[in-house]
Subunit: 365 residues, 2 copies
C-alpha cells in the first residue's frame, strides 16, 4: 500500500487521490495513444478532448452563464496581477482595490506599477495586521470605478469573504485559494483568476474566467500577445502551447469533484471541516488562540491559530508530523499554526487533526 | 507491457521513457513524503532539492560559466518574446533580429510591439519561404546593436544554425527546439530561452539562461514583477510558485541525459539520426523532396520533405501510423511530412522510420 500523509500545505497542496491515481495509471499510455499526455501535441484530438473537458467541467461545476469565457493561462496570480491593469485599466479607467492581506497588497502594488493613481485603495485593514475584513461602511468606492478588486480568501491571514463586498460595481477577484469551495452567483464578477495549486490542480495553470463586456474592455493590441486576454479568448487558450499536463490534472480533479456531487457536496464538507476545526479552537480558547478577530470573517480554507508559546507551536508541528500530518507551520510573517483545508482535505482528515489537537491540550494545557 | 508508439511530434514531443517511469513510480509518494511532487509546497526541502538539481544539471550538462544565471519560468517562448524587449530594450537600446522562419517572425513582431523601430531586421529569407538561412554576407547588424536575436532551430521550416550567425555582438536566442542537442560554447550568448516541450520536458516550463551583464541591463522595476528577469534571478526562480511538476520532469530528463553520457553522447546520436534520415531522402531524391534548399542549413531536429503528391503525403502519414509512428504530418503552412527527431527520439526509432521510407518507395515509387 502506498504511503500517504494528511496534507495541510497552503499550496501547492493536496489533490484528490483518485485524480492522481488516474494520472499514474495512464502516465505512459494516455487514452490509448501509446504516449504520455505530456508527449502529445497540443493540436492533437486526444489532447483537445482533455482541454475541452476541463473547460466544460469548469462551466458546469460553477454554473457559468454563456457570457463568460474560461481561459487556461500560465504565470499564476502574479502574472495576472499585471495583466489585469495592462488589459483593463486603459483609456483613463480607474479601479478600487480592497487590501485585506499579503496577496491583496501584492495585487494592489502591481496594479499601481502599471496604472499609477488610477488604482485606488477602497479599504485596508493593514493597521490591524489584516486580522479581519473591512466592513461595508469602511469601503470607499468611486462612482467612476471600472471594477472593485478583492481577494476572496486571504491565504496568509485566514480570512474569507463569505458574503462578497457590498458595492454595485463589477468585481475582479483573486480566487486562488478558495475557487470552487462552494457554488456562488458569478453574475457580478467581471473577471476571476486563480492559480490552480490550492483548490484545483498543480502549479503552472491559472484558471481565468472573464465576462464578455470585460473582454471587450481589453483594447490591448499593443501589448505582447501572451499578455492579452482577448487573444487567449479568441484562440480558446490555444494561441500558444498551454501547460498540457497541468490542464490534464485539472480535468481529473474537476471530473472527480463532479463525481462526488459537485460544489454543493464540496461546500457541505468544507462547512463541516470548519465547524470541527473552529469548534476545537473555541472549545480550548484558553490554549488555542485564533488569529482572526471577527468570527464571521474566519476562512474555511486556511485556519490560523497560536498555541500559548512559540515553543509549543513548534512541538505541535513536530508531533503532528510524527502522527502523519504535514504542512502545519504558520506563514513566516505570522507564525503559529496554519491549517489549510482545501477541497481535497477530507472531513476525516480534519477529524484526525482535531483528535490530535484535543489530545495535545490534555498533555500540554 | 505498456503500449508505446514512436513519437515524431514537433512539440509537445516524446520524452525519455526512464524519466517518465520514474515519475510514474513515485507519482503518489515522492521522495518518501507520502505526497505527490505536485502536492508538496514549493518552499519544502523536498521540492527545493528537485529545483536545485534541475538548475545544477542544466549548468553541468551545458557547461555554463559562473557568470550565467539559470531561470525556470512560465509562458513559453511567447511570453519571452515580450519579456526580452521589455527588459532589455530600455533607454534607447537597439537590437537586430534575424528572421528565418515562423517563430523568428513572431519574436520580431512581438519585440516591435514593445520597442518599435529600435527592433531592426538584420536579414530575412521570407521571400524564399524561409527554405534556407541567411548567409553571413546578408546580415545587416548595426554598430549600435545591443544584441542579435536569432532562432537556433526553425521548427516549422527545418533549418538550423549549426554555426551561429557571424557577428561580434552578443546573441539573444530562442533555442526552444534544439537546446541541449549538443555541447556548445555559450560565451557569446547574453540570453537563451527555451520552452521545455521539445527537448527538455513538458510544456509550461521555460528554461532561461542569462548572462550577468544582461541581467544588469534589466532596469525594469516599473514592470509587473512576473515580467522582470532580475527579480526571478534574485529569488532563484522562487519569487512566485514555479511550475513544480514540470520542473520535476525536467530534472528527470536532465538526470537521464547525464546518465547516458551527457550532450556529447546526445550529439553523436543526433548526428547519426540526421545521416540516416537525410541519407534516405537523398537516396530517393526522385521521390522524397526536402523543403530546405541548402544542405548545410538542414536541421537535425525537424526534417521537412514532400512526397510526389499531397495524396501520397497523406498515405505516408496513415501507413506510418499503422506501423506505430505518429506525429509525421507537416506543419499546416508547408504541408508534406515533418519528422521531429528531438533528443528523446532514438537512433533505432529513426532506423525504423527509414526502413518504412525505403519500403514506401518500393511500393509507391
Amino acid at each position: 500500500m502506498t504511503h500517504r500523509v494528511i496534507n495541510f500545505y497552503a499550496g501547492p497542496a493536496g489533490l484528490p487521490l483518485p485524480a492522481l491515481e488516474r494520472a499514474q495509471q495512464e502516465l505512459l499510455d494516455f487514452a490509448g495513444t501509446g504516449m504520455s499526455v505530456m508527449e502529445v501535441s497540443h493540436r492533437s484530438k486526444e489532447y483537445d478532448a482533455v482541454h475541452e473537458e476541463a473547460l466544460a467541467l469548469t462551466r458546469e461545476l460553477m454554473g457559468l452563464p454563456d457570457n463568460y469565457k474560461v481561459l487556461l493561462l500560465q504565470g499564476g496570480a502574479h502574472l495576472s496581477f499585471g495583466m489585469i491593469p495592462l488589459n483593463l485599466l486603459r483609456g483613463g479607467r480607474k479601479a478600487d482595490y480592497i487590501v485585506t492581506g499579503n496577496w491583496a497588497e501584492k495585487a494592489t502594488k502591481e496594479a499601481k506599477l502599471v496604472a499609477g493613481d488610477h488604482v485606488r485603495v477602497a479599504a485596508s485593514t493593514k493597521d490591524e495586521k489584516f486580522a479581519r475584513l473591512p466592513k461595508a461602511s469602511e469601503l470607499k468606492i468611486g462612482e467612476d470605478s471600472a471594477f472593485v478588486h478583492f481577494t476572496s480568501n486571504n491565504t496568509v491571514e485566514g480570512t474569507q469573504w463569505k458574503e462578497f463586498p457590498k458595492t454595485d460595481k463589477p468585481y475582479v477577484c483573486d480566487m486562488s485559494s478558495d475557487i470552487m469551495w462552494r457554488p456562488f452567483d458569478v453574475s457580478q464578477f467581471g473577471l476571476i483568476y486563480a492559480g490552480a495549486q490550492k483548490n484545483l490542480g498543480p502549479s503552472g495553470v491559472t484558471l481565468t474566467i472573464i465576462r464578455e463586456d470585460f473582454l471587450e474592455m481589453c483594447e490591448a493590441s499593443d501589448l505582447p500577445s501572451y499578455l492579452r486576454y482577448k487573444l487567449h479568448a479568441e484562440k480558446n487558450s490555444l494561441y500558444n502551447t498551454p501547460p498540457t499536463f497541468g490542464i490534464y490534472i485539472l480535468r481529473n480533479v474537476l471530473a472527480y469533484n463532479k463525481s462526488i456531487g459537485g460544489l454543493k457536496a464540496i461546500e457541505t464538507a468544507n462547512r463541516k471541516k470548519g465547524e470541527l476545526l473552529y469548534g476545537c479552537i473555541d472549545r480550548h480558547a484558553g490554549f488555542y488562540k485564533g488569529f482572526v478577530t471577527e468570527k464571521a470573517d474566519r476562512s474555511l480554507m486556511n485556519v490560523d491559530f497560536f498555541l500559548p508559546t512559540p515553543e509549543l507551536d513548534d512541538t505541535f508541528v513536530k508531533e503532528a508530523k510524527k502522527a502523519g500530518m504535514v504542512g502545519l507551520k504558520g506563514y513566516r510573517d505570522i507564525g503559529g499554526i496554519r491549517v489549510s483545508t482545501y477541497n481535497a482535505v477530507s472531513v476525516q482528515d480534519v477529524e484526525t487533526l482535531v483528535g490530535f489537537m484535543d489530545e495535545f491540550v490534555r498533555r500540554n494545557g
